[in-house]
């Protein structure tokens, strides 16, 4: 039984990482109806910024963490303003292809600047375990879960209690009406991209200590986050977090207890989840079904 709880806790930790990235996807999808396929690569790229600050410039962890968040936010805003805005009203295919282009750019840039070598990434938490009633819980896992929960709470408070948060919600809900009452919708969308990039950076920095830093590290995580977002309902922030946690724990338990799946077939299982949810219940567990007027 102890082993079971250990699996659950480490599942919650990886689930937290999926949740952060899934939340980033949901944020952009809610505001603009676009899925940012480059979300994972942007997260990877910003994680490299944190790495280079700590490893090459001698920063300590938390200042580098904070600086990376600022950089990620600016990156997200910049991309929305320069590349996404001109094609906002174009067909979906155009947007998808552009974000695919961004995947290539960031993946290539990371390899170009920092080489494709696999690197160790520092963790802010000690490499210890706590013993809680016979269950060994790693501090790293608890720390990861804590950071994600704090982040989600801050984000919720931002959307709920600040004027900018209100304007962001308004422009996602009804851009035209928001524009009429003086909300600068274009900039709100850019802020949405910035926040998404920031969430991605957190996901990247929390992932890197365990799976090591390399230009392809976020590809599988991105698929898990897609699965989490789809599972929770691609328009529901709460669903993204819940979906991430469910997926993290579920995949961990399946990997540990279903021999056939093991560690190798976790990615196909995530794919299966995406397909089944999209086919059976496209709105996900917590999303609202869309009724389309024709």
């Amino acid at each position: 039984m102890a082993a079971f709880f250990q699996q659950v806790v480490s599942g919650l930790a990886s689930g937290g990482i999926y949740a952060a990235l899934a939340l980033a996807l949901v944020l952009i999808h809610r505001a603009t109806g676009v899925i940012n396929f480059a979300q994972g690569e942007m997260a990877m790229f910003t994680t490299y910024i944190a790495w280079t600050l700590t490893a090459n410039h001698g920063w300590s962890y938390w200042p580098a963490f904070a600086a990376t968040l600022v950089f990620a936010f600016a990156l997200g805003v910049g991309i929305q303003r320069v590349i996404i805005r001109p094609i906002e009203r174009g067909p979906i295919l155009t947007t998808v292809i552009i974000t695919i282009g961004l995947i290539l750019v960031f993946n290539g840039l990371a390899g170009w600047i920092w080489s494709a070598e696999v690197r160790a990434f520092p963790s802010p938490f000690p490499n210890d375990t706590w013993n809680v009633g016979g269950v060994a819980i790693s501090v790293q896992d608890v720390g990861t879960i804590a950071i994600v929960l704090v982040l989600v709470a801050l984000l919720w408070a931002f959307f709920q209690f600040t004027k900018v948060g209100l304007a962001l919600r308004a422009s996602a809900l009804n851009p035209d009406a928001s524009r009429l009452v003086g909300v600068r919708v274009g900039w709100m969308l850019a802020i949405g991209w910035g926040l998404a990039a920031l969430l991605g950076a957190v996901a990247g920095m929390l992932t890197a200590p365990t799976i090591f830093l390399d230009p392809n590290m976020m590809q599988a995580i991105l698929i898990y986050s897609f699965a989490a977002a789809v599972l929770g309902g691609i328009d529901s922030p709460f669903g993204a977090v819940a979906g991430g946690m469910i997926l993290g724990v579920g995949l961990n338990l399946i990997g540990a207890y279903v021999d056939f799946v093991g560690a190798d077939l976790r990615l196909p299982v995530a794919l299966l989840i995406i397909l089944v949810v999209l086919l059976v219940r496209p709105a996900g567990l917590f999303g609202k079904a869309i009724t389309r007027r024709v």
Binding site: V96, I98, L265, L271, L279, P282
Partner: protein, 343 residues
């Protein structure tokens, strides 16, 4: 046939002649590179049937190529697969595996078309993307069949034509690379003609109707399910043939022969050639094959080609959404307009 189509057929015949004579003028190494261009051309034709003509996004065509490539590899190499007491083994000649590879991939694509019916736009992109990422993991799992991460080596096997001492056809000696060139371009030209014939008639019209408005197409009596699954099937058939040729050309397959980047590069090729075009896809295929080499001139770093691909993809999408085909059309319309004015 209309006059324009007759001209088209004439140009096609000239192109066939040029393609067939070209190896006399180029080096063995160039022949190999151009063989790959032919292979990518086939895959791009298939992808464009689906994405450019029918409007269904696929970010996972590398997975269909993987199916084709592995079908060929498994049929050529003697795997000695044991199921129960029966030992399956095969050492088929490579060229006979190509249509089988196409059919296997085509059937899988056709079947994938059914769940895909319920997915539109973004969600289809997402699902196909996940397929492409997950496919190598599945290949690694079924080691018995696929050789796992190590892959299947074809070099030197009796089923592989001409890899060791070249090929003799009609009294001509061809090196392995020249043989690859002729093989891939013969198939490419045949499949090009087939695609053209399919797309000019009733089926092509239905595809385009589905792309432009599903609602309007359905109300005009186009059976959406039939044509979408058909587009998936045809498209995957082309990808399977291309994957099969890729396996033959590299004389080796492993999961890394068909990474997610392959799927993405195919999309880049289609966009650069022009969505909804056929012959301009050659430009896209040349782009896929030669861009990494050009990018090497800019920087020796392994990341450089991807950056150049990405930047070109974004720039083309922003500035020239119809790709090379659109550029040509624009130039032609500009010059002919000038011509009319002069007259």
């Amino acid at each position: 046939m209309r006059r324009r189509e007759l001209i088209g057929v004439g140009v096609f015949v000239l192109a066939v002649a040029a393609v067939m004579l070209l190896p006399r003028a180029i080096s063995d190494f160039r022949a190999q590179q151009l063989a790959y261009v032919g292979i990518y051309f086939i895959a791009l034709l298939g992808l464009n049937v689906l994405t450019g003509f029918t409007g269904q996004i696929s970010l996972g065509h590398g997975a269909f190529m993987l199916i084709g490539g592995y079908t060929t590899a498994i049929l050529i190499s003697d795997q000695g697969l044991k199921i129960g007491s029966h030992v399956f083994s095969s050492d088929m000649k490579d060229i006979w595996t190509i249509p089988i590879a196409g059919l296997v991939a085509g059937i899988v694509g056709f079947l994938f078309g059914f769940p895909a019916l319920r997915l539109t736009g973004l969600y289809l992109a997402l699902a196909t993307f996940a397929v492409a990422v997950a496919a190598p993991a599945i290949v690694k799992k079924y080691e018995l069949f696929t050789g796992g991460g190590g892959g299947v080596n074809l070099f030197g096997l009796p089923g592989l034509t001409g890899a060791v001492e070249g090929v003799e056809i009609f009294g001509h000696r061809l090196s392995f690379n020249e043989w690859l060139y002729y093989l891939s371009w013969t198939i490419a030209l045949v499949l090009f003609a087939v695609a053209w014939a399919i797309l000019r008639g009733r089926i092509g019209r239905s595809f385009r109707a589905v792309r432009d408005s599903e609602l309007a197409a359905a109300s005009s009596g186009v059976n959406l399910a039939r044509y979408k699954t058909l587009a998936f099937g045809i498209s995957a058939f082309y990808a399977g043939v291309a994957g099969s040729l890729l396996a033959i050309a590299t004389t080796f397959v492993n999961p890394d022969t068909f990474p997610i980047t392959l799927s993405i590069f195919l999309l880049v090729g289609v966009v650069v050639g022009g969505l909804g075009s056929l012959w301009p896809l050659v430009v896209g295929a040349v782009f896929i094959q030669f861009l990494p080499l050009w990018a090497q001139e800019i920087s020796k770093s392994p990341g450089a080609p991807a950056v150049v691909y990405g930047v070109v993809l974004i720039l083309v999408m922003l500035a020239l959404p119809m790709g090379a085909a659109g550029l040509v059309r624009r130039i032609v319309s500009l010059t002919t307009r000038g011509y009319h004015r002069v007259r």
